[in-house]
Symmetry: C2
Subunit: 368 residues, 2 copies
């Protein structure tokens, strides 16, 4: 087991990464105070792992309840969040109750937001079971739900007390979910570490089959990069925005198709290809770098061709992105591989990228 | 105009108290950044004052929108909160948008919670127009909504950028609302300043008719007491709980009768009489002090006889209070007039208080 730390003063917390961690009461023990613990999971993950976590908590003498949510991004809304509040109130859960998020990014985001709001804030622990959640959403304290008019529009910054990432849980992950997580892994290389990007390129086949040793290394390096960025900018005042590389386009794809049609990671994969194209048009990266990003996204079994929503619809959807200010859309672009920055862009280049993005790969070699 | 400060490090903010402040652009100017400002008000207050605030914001060059909520505690729920989110998203409100809460405690609590959650946090300004909001709910950053199973169960700590309390707005307040605010004024004397309590006793008739000079003094002294407690314990780790004097009983009354039946301040008024009775039974205060509290509550036109919900129902309702821990109910009691503390109490004394509370005043002179 490897343990990293997210350094946030009194809100600092450990990230434990390794195999067989879901049943480890010793890892939960320092972070679960009070008498009540409530495991929040979904109908897919619960049957696989909830009993293991429940037993670990029970062995610590806790009163444990399990709340099982429907599975999927389409349920990341107030109605589902309210299932958690209902269960907490019916159970008489007090201010010292600890919530445990057992599942992927949706479960983690919703459980974290429920913890942020229940009685104005109770502690929670992240036990991410998907690659996306392990390398990205479980670290950093961003929590929230979707609104029909925008993704993650309602939420809070609420740091977990610990993140416990059990690599073995990834073995049961459907290939499409694994690929979606790889999008964030690729992102970390692209925005912060060209050497890591190259390492992913070299090992993408083994990572696609979830090789345990390589996967543990990827989770570790990605968590290091994310923890480092979060420690410098907890509430996204500046630097942290680079973690949204591919997300401005990605969120528009998700919203435009309807949440749940493409997985978040799939939309981010395609969004990174689009952001690389825009970076090229603005003269920051060369054709080869754009091609490397596209090839790696495709090698990770992620879509690289954007859905045809129409240019105006894309722009309309991006204007409600949280990074937008006074109607001007902010993009995270690559200065070079391993180095990202936030900027606005000329309309003409944005239109060109949006038109190019829906073309099939043969158009890749040149700037359209 | 008097200006106090709530000292919370980088979250410190001013409280301006005086007449004619609602139209003062100079008071809003330092706190409204960005291009968008959204005034949240209700259908009672909006027609009286929204145009004035709108004009002040427009004079600063802001794009201003007004969201009008239905009036009343019964609407302090997710559905109404979502009206604010809908309006913000439809208006394309960005992260720098400032919300302005123009109204009473319900508008302030909901606007503050919307500001806490919209895009994970935007700034807001409190412009309280009721006495209760001016002396209590607008100061201290407690925000939230009710859940069918408990009051203020879903919320956040989110400090405003400024509180602008226009004393003139109290002139249009219905007598019942003014009395409800007086409950919190009496509370501040009871828990923190016996001299202030005596001053309220002396001036209660003039305060009941909203004498502007006396009322400005009451708002000032109450805000000083509240700001001082909040500065010492922002997130209610200990001391701040004393501000809930009368609230454990009061919340049970509100929930038991159905939110909106009694005003919050009415329930708190009666709850303080009950808490004083319990303080007497536990040997902390004498019969005279209990009688002074009851007389002042009654002189402020507030109910002092509790509704007959049944002892078991009261206890059940109090067990879901946010201060409860592992099923044990916490009470704020008086050590003496001007000095409060948090404690658990023996069942027998609690039962005696609950039985005594529903009796009419002639029973006051003795411990039943």
């Amino acid at each position: 087991m490897i343990t990293l730390e997210v350094s946030l003063g009194e809100r600092s917390y450990p990230i434990h990464i390794g195999g067989g961690l879901l049943g480890r009461a010793d890892l939960l023990q320092p972070h679960v105070r009070g008498q009540h613990a409530v495991i929040v999971t979904n109908e897919t993950v619960g049957p696989l792992y909830a009993a293991r976590v429940e037993a670990a908590l029970a062995s610590l003498g806790k009163t444990v309840r399990v709340v099982t949510l429907p599975d999927g991004e389409a349920f990341k809304n107030w109605e589902t969040l309210n299932l958690i509040f209902d269960a907490l109130l019916r159970a008489g859960a007090d201010r010292k109750t600890t919530l445990v998020a057992l599942g992927g990014g949706v479960v983690g985001d919703m459980t974290g937001f429920a913890a942020a709001c229940y009685m104005r804030g109770v502690p929670f622990v992240q036990m991410p079971t998907t690659l996306l959640a392990q390398v990205d959403s479980s670290v950093g304290g961003k929590t929230g739900i979707n609104h029909p008019l925008g993704k993650n529009m309602i939420g809070a910054f609420h740091q977990p007390r610990a993140v416990i990432a059990d690599i073995e849980a990834l073995q049961t992950l459907p290939p499409r979910e694994l690929a979606a997580g790889m999008a964030e892994v690729i992102k970390h290389g692209a925005i912060a570490d060209a050497g890591y990007f190259e390492w992913i390129e070299q090992h993408i086949q083994a990572l696609n089959t979830c090789d345990p040793e390589l996967m543990a290394l990827a989770v570790q390096r990605s968590c290091e990069i994310k923890a480092n960025v979060v420690a410098q900018d907890e509430r996204e005042g500046g630097l942290r925005a680079i973690l949204n590389f591919g997300h401005t386009f990605g969120h528009a794809i998700e919203a435009g198709l309807g949440y749940g049609e493409w997985l978040h990671g799939e939309a981010v994969g395609c969004g990174m290809v689009m952001a690389a194209d825009l970076s090229l048009r603005l003269g920051f990266i060369d054709v080869q770098t754009r091609a490397r990003l596209r090839r790696l996204v495709e090698a990770a079994m992620l879509p690289s061709v954007a859905p045809e929503l129409g240019t105006e619809r894309y722009i309309e959807l991006m204007k409600v992105d949280k990074k937008a200010e006074a109607g001007s859309i902010k993009f995270i672009l690559l200065k070079k591989l391993g180095d990202a920055f936030i900027t606005t862009v000329p309309d003409a280049d944005l239109h060109a990228t949006l038109q190019h993005a829906i073309l099939k790969p043969p158009a890749e070699a040149t700037v359209a």
